[in-house]
Symmetry: C2
Subunit: 313 residues, 2 copies
Amino acid sequence: MRKIAVDAMGGDFAPKAVIEGAILAASELPENYQIVLIGKQDAMLEVLHDLEYRKGAIEMIYCNDVIEMHEHPTRAFSQKPNSSIGVGFKLLKEGQVSAFCSAGNTGAMMVGSLFTLRTLGNIQRPPIAGYFPLKNGNFSLMLDIGANADCKPEVLMQFAELGSLYARFALNIESPKVGLVNIGEEEEKGNTVSQAAYQLLKNNKKINFIGNVEGRDLFEGKADVYVTEGFTGNVLFKMGESLYEYAVSQGINDPLINRMNYEVAGGSPIIGVNGNVIVGHGISSPLAIKNMILLAKKQIESNVVDKIKEVFS
Amino acid sequence: MRKIAVDAMGGDFAPKAVIEGAILAASELPENYQIVLIGKQDAMLEVLHDLEYRKGAIEMIYCNDVIEMHEHPTRAFSQKPNSSIGVGFKLLKEGQVSAFCSAGNTGAMMVGSLFTLRTLGNIQRPPIAGYFPLKNGNFSLMLDIGANADCKPEVLMQFAELGSLYARFALNIESPKVGLVNIGEEEEKGNTVSQAAYQLLKNNKKINFIGNVEGRDLFEGKADVYVTEGFTGNVLFKMGESLYEYAVSQGINDPLINRMNYEVAGGSPIIGVNGNVIVGHGISSPLAIKNMILLAKKQIESNVVDKIKEVFS
């Protein structure tokens, strides 16, 4: 039995949206999978009471604390070991579950990943990898999208390596093309960090570096992996999400813009830590939660964490 | 007579697109305006030969050199004083024209602005200000969008002051709201530069600072002035432009997305230098050139350069 732990208390519409999403996912998961919902007993039972689901598909683990969205991540994670996030990482660390997903406090998910699971080998700063939609119907992996606002060139190089491994094993792309998000095509273009990162990427034999990608290239899918500091990545991603919301309000129904909807990918993996961790959007709907859980399944089956461990240790 | 100089050799489709755009603009400008086209005689006459226009509306000044799009800006500007860009800055410096517009080498336009016109007062790094489209039908001014990839916090603070003055005098916004492009709402969020810039902006009495704006806020128009390092600003802008092109290809006709079209604003002013300088997109069409020239007119009439001079000297 493979188990995917889900933070039932995480997100603006938790626990209802999370539990509904988990039930949707349960109906699509094979029988050897089980979803482990972690949350406060009363709150969970109240929601589950009205819903129908295959009992064996969902297990419940109770906790008595919650890390709220605006709590300080490090402090909250240390002070609330019996929060849903704290318990989730404990289960993952102990191998009782194969993945942990939460649409709750992203900072606390990052802290849990670093403190409880630890980074793999010499990885300095695990990135959050976002699924960036392309015109051709696929996604590129953009990393980082917000965990690391400032990055040294060496850190960007690790993002490139991690993104390549993820794209290869979790997305089945043979030799993933890596592009550096930048403000010009030529290698001397950019800010200090991107100029230095370009040289590291160019000379790195472990990746298939294709050079800089500009803002205008992003939807074209010039690369399978887009490397960027979390600052720019986050602004780009959030702008895309807001554009999707705007398009819906205008009645625009377009395949590219529709995939700017955070619900489609459902979540973003934290890569480079010793376990499968997926973070979701704070406003996650049941559909988003379902897709986050299915993403966790895909990532578990790819064994990408073990592949990264082999390379980085 | 007020004169607007236009680099007839600047842009991928020069001189044809530029001259056609100038003629379109001439038909909309009042009689006390004249467009001064600067370019190679043969190339200009060949295009003009086939076109009709009011003779008094367009003057021609011949040069025998051109700074190409991919030349090194500083080197090219020094070595080609008789290029269209070189001549344009000379005319502007001497007061023979009131503004200079070019869709050519942006770096050379920046160098010309710095070397020939000079910055005003203690301005450290003049930004390029882009017109960022909003859901409400207006634009916010985003600065910088590419001239300064790395910015110190003090430089971002000057962008805020410059943007405020530009919005007040050139865009007639009484007390322009200033937002810092960032990756969270709270003041402690962001990268090192944005965190430090936040403190400077918060304590600056000359501006109406409203705090951070995230990627998802940009189209909402939370602020009239968006302050950002040129790196992020450039990537955002170019992504928007490519989205417009994509939307056209899909038959999407939406008021917000349509204004991501660079042709609508036509150009972007370089602010903080001693003169009216507008740069256009390399792929500028006649429509874009026309709008760039009309933007120059608006900027001339606002006297915004004098207003900035008063404040910064």
